[in-house]
């Protein structure tokens, strides 16, 4: 089984978000970038399934410029076999999906996994676009993934419950908790990651269908109104009469 796992490079979850003075771009200064937390579920599950089968490969794919390589190496240290970086700044979800679909087609991957969404753009779009570009099923968001031969059984989250879906390879799934316990690299992994192949390829076209015009921060909170614990019931009156939410 050939797994392709797509990872995006995102600001660490604790980052205070700021923008360049013209509000056109995210301000990267001093920000630590990590593998998108949702993608870690996809990566770890692919490695677990490969290990359980005793054969197969896990390739990580990132669309990004050279500064994403430390996180690609981290994915290799966690246990992926090799990596591909499409050398381009991601323009939008459509642009990224086109790159992934082109690589997936060329490498004839059986299973294409990615996180539910990236924690910076929050698109929740790429999985479906890749599935449609390749004409194969998409299961999103998936909470569980098991393989038996060429058939996968997945649990897909729906509002208020789950669907049990089974699809044959090739397919795309976007992953979320509680699929697995994401792994962290160990010393041996870090050492071997240095020698694993990382191929850099050029982007396919430059089409995008959306453009960010401007970023903005939410309005500042006005500050908390504290109610003494002894008269906790007064809170309920405020919620009814002042905030008008009950």
């Amino acid at each position: 089984m050939k797994f392709l796992v797509c990872i995006s490079n995102v600001p660490d979850t604790t980052t205070k978000i700021t923008f360049t003075p013209d509000n056109k771009e995210f301000n990267k200064a001093g920000v630590q970038f990590v593998i998108n937390p949702w993608d870690e579920y996809a990566l770890t599950r692919a490695i677990e399934l490969k290990e359980a089968a005793g054969s197969g490969t896990v390739t990580v794919l990132n669309v990004g410029e050279a500064d994403t390589e430390p996180n690609i190496r981290k994915a290799l240290a966690i246990g992926a076999d090799d990596a591909i970086r499409v050398n381009a700044a991601p323009k939008d979800a459509f642009f990224v999906a086109e790159q992934i679909a082109a690589i997936a087609k060329e490498g004839a991957y059986d299973v294409i996994l990615m996180g539910k969404e990236s924690i910076d753009y929050n698109g929740f779009q790429v999985h479906g676009m890749v599935g449609e570009l390749l004409g194969i099923p998409t299961v999103a968001p998936a909470m569980k993934l098991d393989m038996s031969g060429n058939t996968a059984t997945l649990e897909r989250e729906i509002e208020g419950g789950k669907e049990i879906v089974s699809v044959n390879t090739p397919f795309v799934a976007s992953c979320q908790q509680p699929m697995c316990e994401p792994r962290i690299p160990n010393m041996r992994g870090i050492m071997t990651a240095r020698t694993k192949p990382l191929k850099v390829v050029a982007a396919t076209g430059d089409a995008a269908r959306t453009q960010v015009q401007e970023y903005a921060l939410p309005p500042k909170k006005q500050g908390v109104k504290l109610i003494p614990a002894e008269s906790a019931g007064d809170l309920i009156k405020l919620l009814r009469n002042e905030a008008k939410v009950i």
Binding site: T14, L133, T210, A216
Partner: protein, 325 residues
């Protein structure tokens, strides 16, 4: 040229988030000088579809194929794409739900459309440009995005627009057949398992949420959360460590790696307010925090707060709600 609204139905009724989407679609259609048609997915009653007139929808297309009752990605994509072509829809509006975002992303390729998810306002359409405001950076920012394609698909974030109810107005319900074949149902679910929802209220749809963290000390104390939720007609939720240790099911976990909610009222009980938790709840309209630590970071994001012990405060709140009658 029209606006096509995708309405999700469950057990015969239109979901609350789809009433919001219908309102959004009708207001957008008015802005563009056209009308809004809806296509229904899921299990719908004709009466509930006709009531979409209250949100400003003029016509509702409904395909009675029984296999469309549960979400089937390929079949839903084909159904909506066929409706979009028939209606010459230049804009398709859907909910930013697991169904909406999944189908929307496939549709964007099939219809060669620009797609924006997580949209929080009506678009700006002056000067021929089409710009939407959407949430980004896990609720820590917004971005204005220009949709350049000739066709546009917009997934509207829940609770970001208030559903309108113009009593007495009805929509025409029209039979629609997308001519779906067995192959379109190849990825149909083998089984659908619904989870127990406290008080029957779906967390992603809820207008009010009562949520507990590690400060609740153990699952045996959750009746305090449930009692207040029941009195308020709220859904229950929890922080990640609470679901990690199985005090509560995973589908209740809100935050960066859990569900994102944006209710009118979010009450956090014994939750510290770590940035990853805030990411899933900070677009709630009113946030109430109950924590015994006055330095808990959550107070910075809160509108109302009580510095106190949840075991003492929660019963008082429940009693006060019941006293409202």
């Amino acid at each position: 040229m029209s606006v096509l609204v995708v309405v999700e139905c469950d057990k015969g009724e239109v979901k609350k988030s789809s009433l919001e989407v219908a309102t959004y679609g009708a207001q957008l259609a008015a802005q563009l000088g056209t009308s809004a048609t809806a296509i229904a997915v899921g299990e719908a009653s004709e009466a509930s579809l006709a009531r979409l007139g209250e949100q400003g929808i003029t016509k509702v297309l409904y395909d009675k194929e029984p296999r469309l009752k549960d979400f089937v990605n390929n079949a839903y994509t084909k159904l909506i794409a066929t409706a979009a072509q028939q209606e010459d829809a230049k804009v398709i509006v859907l909910a930013n739900s697991n169904i909406g975002a999944t189908v929307g992303s496939r549709l964007s390729i099939r219809l060669q459309a620009s797609l924006a998810t997580n949209v929080v306002e009506l678009p700006k359409t002056a000067g021929g440009q089409f710009t939407v405001k959407r949430g980004a950076f896990s609720g820590k920012a917004f971005s204005d995005v220009v949709l350049s394609g000739e066709r546009k698909i917009i997934a509207v974030k829940k609770n970001s627009i208030e559903a309108q109810h113009e009593a007495g107005k009805t929509a025409e319900v029209v039979a629609f057949a997308a001519q779906l074949s067995d192959a379109d149902f190849a990825d149909a679910p083998k089984q659908v398992v619904m989870q127990d929802q406290a008080g029957g209220i779906l967390l992603p749809e809820a207008e009010r949420v009562v949520s507990g963290g590690r400060g609740m000390k153990g699952p045996e104390n959750w009746h305090l959360i449930e009692d207040l939720a029941k009195a308020l007609g709220a859904a229950t939720a929890c922080s990640k460590p609470v679901s990690d240790v199985d005090w509560r099911p995973h589908h209740e976990h809100v935050g960066q790696t859990g569900i994102t909610v944006s209710p009118n009222l979010y009450i956090a009980c014994g939750i510290s307010g770590a940035i990853q938790h805030l990411a899933g709840v900070n677009s709630s309209k009113v946030i109430v925090v109950i924590n015994k630590d006055p330095e808990a970071p959550f107070f910075k994001a809160a509108n109302y707060g009580i510095v106190g012990d949840v075991f003492d405060v929660l019963p008082k709140l429940t009693a006060a709600v019941k006293a409202l009658g």
